[in-house]
């Protein structure tokens, strides 16, 4: 699914156009933001029937910059509420309409019955304790900007998470997890192969051992290292973090990584892609690291104004209730020339990471911690036995300069998750080829 557009309800289009003509032209950050959103979550476990949670919401936020910046939000507005102009709407105490003139669209994007049937078929193929979670969303936005213009965007995406736990000897169990971005027409057969490989991996993990604590060399499997890039580089180059002096990555001049390292954020690709951000700015691929040096920041309108730079189209909000922040869309490490085997070869001892999740990130110190849930030891350039889950610590100042081998096998979204920043969850994508880092630490 790609970002795009669809016709806006005519009543809302008129109302937003009226509002945009009343927005003060002297305030370049004045906006009226409108969203209409549909979400569906389905949970299915081995021992229960499906839990299906569909939600619909609509809301607006009138935003202003200047010497008294802020915004006023309102759930379930009617078009008449916003046509009066951004600065007057939505304060606390406003009455709720008796009957909204433009109800939620009646038709759903999703077909829950078909999805449940599909997931149940998938579950029937697995032995052991199997659970699935399917999550999908569709968000139409429209933003009134000063001067009578209304710009729209459409974002949509879905993902599925599969988790399998298998029993082993002496009461032991082992788990394996896989996530896939869901793009219709997915069929059960597509994911049937994934279920098969999950079972194989879970059984292999019955022999997992404790990792050796302390310094280690990492090789990150295709796609997986995108999480590390997101945390150590992406968050450090969100412009509001840089503005308040809380980015260790920009504190020191010069190269932060070897010259082969290029990192880009492009919101137009990935699983929750957007074409315009929540301030109606056209987004573009933004180089973050080029030739091993910091090449740019991710901007919303506020940070761009203060840096006197162009906005990059990264201003996003989790909903109309929350403030706009510079956020990542799809952050990835550009591929190198080595085969994955060449990346692994020559590593006498280390850890090969198949799957991990972020535990914490701190841009001020440039550190990040990850829970590694699936990894193997590396012994003389070969993959060895699986490892129990462990905590991994990295510091950008030592880890990034040690990034010394980059594969050609760029993959996206092999580990799928949401990015939580300032309490705002956001659909994000990451990508990376197989690559190696020389300095990391297994926490004890």
């Amino acid at each position: 699914m790609r970002p795009g557009s669809e016709p806006l309800d005519p009543a809302w289009k008129d109302a937003l156009e009226q509002a945009s003509r009343k927005l003060p032209e002297r305030d370049p950050r004045a906006r009226v933001f409108y969203e209409c959103r549909e979400d569906l979550r389905i949970d299915l476990r081995s021992d229960s029937s499906a839990i299906v949670v569909p939600t619909r919401l609509r809301g607006t936020a009138a935003c202003r910059g200047g010497s008294r910046p802020g915004f006023e939000f309102q759930a379930w507005p009617s078009p008449a509420d916003i046509a009066v102009g951004g600065s007057d709407i939505a304060g606390p105490g406003r009455a709720v309409s008796d009957c909204n003139e433009t109800p939620h669209p009646a038709a759903s994007t999703f077909d829950p019955r078909a999805l449940v049937a599909w997931l149940e078929d998938l579950r029937s193929r697995a032995d052991g304790r199997f659970s699935l979670r399917w999550v999908g969303f569709r968000q139409q936005i429209a933003v009134a900007v000063p001067g009578g213009e209304v710009r729209t965007d459409l974002r949509q995406g879905a993902r599925v998470r599969l988790e399998l736990e298998v029993p082993g000897p002496s009461g032991r169990t082992a788990r394996a997890v896989a996530e896939r971005v869901f793009r219709p027409p997915h069929t059960t057969a597509d994911l049937g192969e994934v279920v098969g490989s999950l079972a194989e991996r879970a059984r292999a993990r019955l022999d997992a051992r404790e990792p050796a604590p302390g310094e280690t060399i990492l090789v990150l499997g295709p796609g997986v290292g995108g999480i590390l890039i997101h945390e150590l580089i992406g968050h450090a180059l969100e412009a509001d973090t840089v503005l308040r002096g809380a980015s260790a990555l920009v504190a020191k001049p010069g190269a932060v990584a070897p010259a082969e390292v290029t990192v880009v954020d492009d919101p137009r690709r990935g699983r929750g892609a957007w074409r315009r951000d929540d301030e109606a700015v056209e987004c573009r691929a933004t180089p973050l690291i080029e030739g091993g040096r910091v090449a740019g920041y991710l901007h919303d309108l506020s940070s761009a104004e203060r840096f006197r730079q162009s906005a990059t189209g990264h201003g996003r909000r989790a909903s109309f209730r929350e403030p706009v922040r510079p956020r990542m869309g799809c952050t990835f490490l550009a591929p190198g020339r080595l085969t994955p085997e060449e990346v692994l070869k020559g590593t006498s001892r280390g850890v090969y990471i198949r799957r991990m999740e972020t535990a914490s990130t701190d841009s001020l110190s440039g550190s990040a911690r990850f829970i590694v849930t699936d990894a193997d030891c590396i012994d003389q350039g070969q993959l060895g036995h699986p490892l129990h889950p462990f905590l991994l610590e990295l510091r950008a100042s030592t880890a990034l300069p040690s990034l010394d081998r980059i594969g050609s096998d760029l993959e996206f979204d092999t580990c799928v998750g949401s990015c939580l920043r300032d309490g705002q969850p956001m659909v994000t994508s990451v990508g990376a080829p197989t690559f190696r880092i020389g300095v990391a630490r297994v926490a004890t």
């Binding site: 029937s49 619909r56 609509r58 910046p69 606390p92 809380a246 001020l364």
Partner: protein, 401 residues
Amino acid sequence: MFDPDSLLERLEALWRSTRNAKVARRVELYARTAIRLRVRTEGTGPAVVERGHDVGLAVRAVDSSGRIGFAAASGLDRQAVELALSEATTSPGAVIDPPWSTGGEGISMDHDDATALPEAEKLEAWLAARSGPAAWVECGRTVEALVAEGGLRATRQRNRAWGMRLLPFATGDAIEERPRVVAARRLEALPGDLLTVPIPPDAAPLDLHEAAGSLPVLISPPAASVLVRALVQALCGAARPGRARVGPALAVTESPGHPEGLSGGRFDDAGFTTRDKVLMDGSFASAADRGPGHYLRASYRDPPCPTFGTLGLADGELDVPRECVRIEHLRIHALDADRWLLEVGGTVDNEGRPVRAVRVAFVRTRPNELALRVHGAVGKARPCPNGVITPALLLDGRFGE
């Protein structure tokens, strides 16, 4: 903004309108409205003022073939109800266990006073008195209503105040920031003192194991609240076989009606009457019943689920040790169900004053081992944003494996 009476009136009218719908045999309607005012500062630039109004409803319905569904939508009119009802009955899934469970007859009311929200300038002044690199403070009020078969009518009104500031912690050769959130039912009750943790200047940070080897470990209320909730979830879950032993300071009661509690009240979010329940008695943890009286909704967009609500501990009877390691930051990384890595940081205190930073460290432990080491409570129990009301807790010196 609705008051409880007008919200209930509106919801009852909407509920009556569903009686004509042939798609559902039984229907429960839940509505939540909220107003919020937040003032935020980034350390540079002017303060940002955010305010607004949220409203939404949720439907739980049993269709003609006995299947149960849930759906939610923003809004509070017939269109929103009809849409949610339609979705709940075309996408049925068992949303809780037992699948249909709504409190009985009668009218329940649980209301805070409807005081006016403060002006933005007052919040700005509150924030300025506790200035930091990035912080916010907000006040709000939530009104909820529930209408279902059998005559159930319930309304709840809650005032709330929240504050956040990024606090610095030492990590060896660097400083890291961690968000500290405080919460209360009124701005005046918001514990602003917890938004300040002075880092002792000059001296290099100490290693935790070095410091905790010889000194008692005192876990401050915000950090203790994280520990208490995680231990309750780990040791009081119904699936856990047997009764786990706990230290003498772990006397934890689930207190839905606690006057300082941030969630729940006299009835749960499915309308069932709540009552206090002892989860840990200072000797053992009890496996908790997660049935009626324990259904909470994270928001109107989420179905009611069995949840541990407000967890209360009594005020401590011990004095602050003359010298101790004070844990101000505590985070639990669950490697699996029975293996934790604690991320902790704080200070060495002498006569109640921090004299040395203790760098953030990781401690490997298991829930049942850690629970046994909680042997004392110090000072007044403070309400924390995760719903735990706890004093500072004392651990014995053996911290982790």
